[in-house]
C-alpha cells in the first residue's frame, strides 16, 4: 500500500460559521461512494456482498454502521461505505455483480455530503426545495433526488430533525451558502 502524501480537500472545507445557529450545518466526513445500476437479478447478491440489503421500495435508504444504500430509481442505487474500505468494497461488489448486466462507478469524490439539523431544518430546506417534507410524505429513512434552488441534490431524512444533503462538488458551496442565508431568518 503506497502512502498517500496528498491531503484531501473538500469543496466545503473553507466555509466556516456553520454552527451555533437555529439550524446547524455540518460537513459529513469523506466516504467511499458508488453509483450502481443493475437489474433485479443482481440486487440480492450485491446486497449480500455489500453487507446492506439494497432497498427495493422507492425512495428508501438502508443503513448499517458506516455504510448506506440509497434507492434512487428502479435500477439505481447510491452506495456509501467507509472511506478506507473503498478498494475492498469495490472488489466485493464487482465480484458479486460479475456476470450480470450492471454499471458500478466509483464516485467518491464527485459529490460531498453535509447534514442540516434542527427543529426548523425542513423549513430551511424548503427555502430552496419544493418537496413536501412532512412526516407523512417524507418519513425518516426516505431519500430522493430533488432540487435545491438551481442545483440537483440528493436529500435523505436521517432522523426527525436531520437531513443529509448530497451535492455534486462544484455546486456544494452554492447550496451550503443558500442554506446559511435561509436559516438567518430564524437565528
Amino acid at each position: 500500500m503506497v502512502e498517500i502524501l496528498a491531503k484531501r480537500q473538500g469543496p466545503l472545507d473553507h466555509l466556516a460559521g456553520a454552527r451555533g445557529a437555529a439550524v446547524e450545518l455540518s460537513v459529513a466526513p469523506p466516504r467511499a461512494k458508488f453509483a450502481l445500476r443493475c437489474r433485479a437479478d443482481a440486487v440480492a447478491a450485491t446486497g449480500r456482498a455489500f453487507g446492506i440489503v439494497l432497498p427495493h421500495e422507492a425512495c428508501r435508504a438502508t443503513v448499517m454502521e458506516d455504510g448506506a444504500a440509497l434507492w434512487l430509481g428502479p435500477d439505481e442505487w447510491l452506495l456509501f461505505a467507509a472511506e478506507g474500505d473503498a478498494d475492498a468494497t469495490a472488489g466485493q461488489l464487482a465480484t458479486a455483480l460479475g456476470g450480470t448486466h450492471h454499471s458500478l462507478v466509483d464516485v467518491s469524490h464527485r459529490s460531498c455530503g453535509f447534514t442540516v439539523h434542527g427543529e426548523l431544518a425542513a423549513t430551511v430546506i424548503n427555502h430552496g426545495c419544493p418537496l413536501d417534507l412532512s412526516h407523512a410524505s417524507f418519513a425518516v429513512g426516505m431519500c430522493t433526488r430533488t432540487v435545491f434552488d438551481k442545483a440537483e441534490i440528493i436529500l435523505w431524512r436521517v432522523d426527525k430533525h436531520t437531513y443529509h444533503v448530497e451535492i455534486e462538488r462544484s455546486y456544494a458551496p452554492y447550496v451550503w451558502n443558500m442554506l446559511v442565508e435561509a436559516r438567518e431568518e430564524f437565528a
Binding site: 503506497v2 502512502e3 498517500i4 502524501l5 496528498a6 491531503k7 484531501r8 480537500q9 473538500g10 469523506p30 453509483a35 445500476r37 435500477d75 469495490a90 464487482a94 448486466h101 454499471s103 458500478l104 462507478v105 466509483d106 464516485v107 467518491s108 469524490h109 464527485r110 459529490s111 455534486e168 462538488r169 462544484s170
Partner: protein, 280 residues
C-alpha cells in the same frame, strides 16, 4: 454490446468514463441496455506542459514508466501520483511534451501544489487560456467554434485521417460523401504568415486573391485565429481558405480600410511541424 461503442473501462473494471442510459438498437437489430454515469465532477485535471514536464512529475509518480518509449504521446496509464490514484494522460494542446494528471477531485489542490513545488527549480508557471491559445495556434491545433463553424468537415481542417475508411456505416457517413462535401474548392485550414512579420492580422478579416479588383471583392477565405508568437518572434495566423492546401506557396491579400496586407499561405503547423518537441 454489438454495433455500439463501449464505455472506457480500466483493467479492473472500476472506472467507467461514460456508460449510456438508453436502450440502443444496433444496426443488426439487436438491442443493448447500457447506463450513463457522469464522472465529470469525480476528477480534477492538471495539465503539465513543457520540455521539463516529465522531469518535474517523475519524482511524484509511482507505478508508471514515463519514458517516451513506454508512454508515448496520446497514451494513458494508471498508477499513483503523490500516493493518490491517477489516470495519467500524455496529451498536449500546446505542442510541447505534456501530461494531464487526473486525480480524484479532493486531491486536486494538494497534487497541484506538489507539482508546482517540484517545478520551481525549472521555473514552472501557471498558464491561462490566452497563453494556451497562442501555443495551440503555433501548432495549428484548431479550436472548434473559432477556427471552424458548423460547415467544416474533418477533411477541411486536415483531420480526414480520423475517419475510419473501412467502416461500412456510421452517423454522418452519407453526408461526408455528398458532392458538396468533397468539392476541391471547399475552404480548408491553412497557416497565414504576413509578409511584414510585425503585422498581426485581425481575426475575421477576409482574404482575396487580387487586391486591385473592384469592390465588392470576391473573398477566397478568412482569418480564424491571429496572434503574436513569442516562440517564432513574428505574427502568426490560421485561416480557412478555398482550396487552401493547394494554395500553399501563394500570396493572398487582406484588404483593410486604409491598407492591404500581403500574406503567404503556408501549412497550418507553424511551430515544430515534425513534432520533435511533442514526442520528446
Amino acid at each position: 454490446m454489438k454495433g455500439v461503442g463501449s464505455p472506457e473501462l480500466s483493467p479492473d473494471g472500476r472506472w467507467v468514463a461514460y456508460t449510456v442510459t438508453t436502450r440502443v438498437e444496433a444496426t443488426n437489430g439487436e438491442t443493448s441496455e447500457v447506463w450513463l454515469t457522469s464522472t465529470t465532477e469525480q476528477w480534477a485535471v492538471i495539465a503539465v506542459q513543457g520540455p521539463n514536464a516529465r522531469k518535474v512529475i517523475e519524482p511524484l509518480v509511482s507505478g508508471i514508466d514515463l519514458s517516451s518509449s513506454a508512454m508515448p504521446h496520446m497514451s494513458m496509464r494508471e498508477g499513483r501520483i503523490c500516493g493518490v490514484p491517477t489516470r495519467l494522460f500524455r496529451v498536449s494542446f500546446t505542442g510541447e511534451l505534456g501530461y494531464e494528471i487526473n486525480v480524484p477531485a479532493d486531491y486536486g489542490r494538494a497534487v497541484w501544489e506538489a507539482v508546482y513545488a517540484a517545478g520551481s527549480a525549472s521555473g514552472i508557471v501557471p498558464y491561462g487560456t490566452e497563453a494556451m491559445h497562442v501555443l495551440r495556434a503555433e501548432k495549428g491545433y484548431i479550436i472548434v467554434g473559432q477556427d471552424t463553424d458548423g460547415t467544416a468537415t474533418p477533411d477541411d481542417v486536415g483531420l480526414g485521417w480520423t475517419i475510419g475508411k473501412t467502416k461500412t456505416d456510421f452517423i454522418g457517413r452519407r453526408s461526408l460523401a455528398l458532392p458538396a462535401m468533397t468539392a476541391p474548392s471547399r475552404k480548408q485550414l491553412v497557416g497565414l504568415l504576413t509578409v511584414n512579420s510585425d503585422i498581426v492580422l485581425e481575426e475575421g478579416a477576409q482574404l482575396v486573391a487580387d487586391p486591385r479588383q473592384p469592390v465588392p471583392m470576391s473573398s477566397v477565405g478568412h482569418v480564424t485565429s491571429s496572434y503574436w508568437s513569442p516562440a517564432l518572434q513574428r505574427s502568426i495566423a490560421l485561416g480557412m481558405v478555398k482550396a487552401g492546401r493547394r494554395r500553399v506557396g501563394e500570396t493572398l491579400h487582406v484588404p483593410m480600410p486604409n491598407k492591404t496586407i500581403a500574406v503567404n499561405v503556408v501549412p497550418s503547423q507553424l511551430y515544430d511541424p515534425a513534432g520533435v518537441r511533442l514526442n520528446g
